[in-house]
């Protein structure tokens, strides 16, 4: 591993730039891309995928998508992953979206992810264990995306995992 940074969607490319500089590498040195496809923030997921598509087109390299739930799980062996889906819901393995209270839990199950932090009280009351907020297992790390990436191909074929449909309902 030459380097890793934790980024937010809005600063993604700044961090990519800094990461490569730190590693003494150039964009042309990239041979393939691994990109998180969610579930999570719709806009954040799209920023990652759009950036990956732009990079793949510019550099003529392939890409592979990795579920954010899988990347989290890879960094937290034995734990279940819970991502905040907003609107008082969570994304869990499946992938599925459900209310935190509807998550079936065995006593002592370890839960990681921003959804586990957000609903800590409720989940702990139901018997789960949630590591401290600053435990690094709560964050999906790019090194796990890179390690899990399989089946590299054209970037435009990498699909986002939205799980939830848009709210709008057709008129007719």
């Amino acid at each position: 591993m030459l380097g890793e940074r934790v980024s937010r969607a809005s600063t993604l490319l700044e961090d990519v730039d800094a990461l490569l500089r730190r590693a003494g590498a150039h964009a042309n040195d990239l041979e393939a891309l691994a990109v998180g496809v969610g579930p999570g923030s719709f806009t954040g997921t799209r920023i990652g995928l759009a950036a990956a598509q732009g990079l793949a087109l510019a550099l003529d390299i392939p890409a592979a998508g990795v579920s954010t739930l899988d990347a989290l799980a890879a960094g937290a062996p034995g734990a279940q992953t819970v991502i905040d889906a907003r609107r008082r819901e969570i994304f869990v393995a499946g992938p599925r979206v459900l209310a935190p209270a509807d998550l079936a839990l065995e006593h002592g199950t370890v839960l990681v992810g921003d959804g586990a932090i957000r609903y800590r009280e409720l989940l702990e009351a139901a018997g789960a264990e949630v590591p401290p907020d600053d435990d690094e297992r709560h964050l999906p790390r790019a090194r796990f995306h890179a390690a899990l990436a399989r089946n590299f191909g054209p970037a435009e074929l990498v699909e986002p995992l939205y799980v939830r449909q848009p709210d709008a309902r057709p008129d007719k």
Binding site: L13, D17, A50, A51, Q53, L55, L57, A155
Partner: protein, 320 residues
């Protein structure tokens, strides 16, 4: 060449334009059919579709121009105003593309893009002029003093002109987008059959919410007789909107002392508006609705941000 990318609303677009303003490729993939089911643009639906379309549209633009990315010297992309989630798809793609190829990038204001649709070959308009920008999202009177910018003289206080067409079309049982549908239906109608007054305001601002309400009441009052009057209603409604736009444009030209009036944006395709301003310059029909050629064109007149000084750019929903 300049590569232009536009994803501010419901058109995914890419274009290649030379530094001299010649269009080499102009690809627009409209999502209108997708949004017609909802009666208007749904931001989350639009953003999802942009992500699916942006790569195919970019590849098609390169094919159409017979060009490769090696010939692209600059990337121009819409930064706002528009739907932020939609804008971020184009902006993120553009930043990544420019960064990976060490190119400069020009963030373009969508409204400046519409004005710059007038600067493309083969028949460019030269500033200064008064520009009426009328679309589904905007209705503006602009004093365009120079290529790089403009002063806003007037704007709509409520609905945009194109929005008034869309809402009117919905009341008349026509599809989305409504402008073209009303234009067609109005051709067989009597524009003097109904009176739909548009509010007169001090200065050069517009208001279109009242005319829409007048149409609603007229439709209610007609009851069973509505079917026989639909083309008259469309013609009268269109006449009211067009008259307000024409009066505004003429007053702006007089106030600013400009000889030339130019019209851009989706409503610039309206046949009655084109007929009502015979001396005006209109954007070519293909460049009235949102497209990326106009964004690339605007990219000729703004200073590009050098590599990699654009990586922190964010999209904006509206002009401050």
């Amino acid at each position: 060449m300049i590569l232009g990318i536009e994803t501010s609303c419901d058109e995914t677009a890419a274009a290649l334009v030379t530094l001299d303003g010649e269009i080499k490729a102009n690809v627009v993939s409209s999502q209108a059919d997708l949004h017609a089911r909802y009666g208007g643009v749904v931001p989350e639906v639009a953003s999802r579709r942009h992500l699916e379309l942006v790569m195919p549209v970019l590849r098609e633009a390169l094919d159409e121009a017979g060009a490769t990315l090696d010939e692209v010297e600059r990337v121009a992309v819409t930064q706002g105003p528009g739907l932020v989630g939609a804008l971020l798809v184009g902006l993120s793609t553009a930043k990544a593309l420019a960064w990976a190829r060490r190119l400069p990038l020009v963030p373009v204001d969508h409204l400046h893009g519409h004005v710059a649709s007038l600067y493309l070959e083969p028949d460019p308009v030269e500033p200064p002029f008064i520009c009426l920008l009328a679309s589904g999202g905007h209705t503006l009177l602009l004093d365009v003093r120079a290529y790089g910018g403009f002063d806003v003289l007037g704007t709509t206080l409520d609905d945009a002109a194109g929005e008034a067409f869309d809402k009117g079309a919905r009341l008349l049982g026509l599809g989305y987008p409504g402008g073209a549908a009303i234009d067609r239906l109005a051709r067989g109608g009597d524009a003097t059959a109904f009176s739909f007054p548009v509010a007169r305001l001090d200065g050069l601002d517009f208001s279109f919410s009242g005319v829409k309400t007048s149409l609603l009441y007229a439709i209610r009052d007609l009851g069973d007789r509505l079917e026989a009057c639909r083309s008259d209603l469309a013609a009268s409604y269109q006449r009211a909107i067009v008259r307000a736009l024409v009066q505004g444009a003429l007053a702006a030209a007089e106030q600013a002392g400009r000889d030339t009036i130019a019209v851009v944006g989706g409503v610039a395709a309206n046949s009655e508006l084109r007929a009502a301003l015979p001396g005006a310059r209109f954007a070519p029909l293909a460049l009235c609705t949102d497209n990326a050629a106009m964004i690339a064109s605007a990219g000729r007149y703004s200073r590009p941000l050098p590599y990699p000084r654009y990586l922190d750019l964010d999209a904006y929903a509206s002009r401050v």
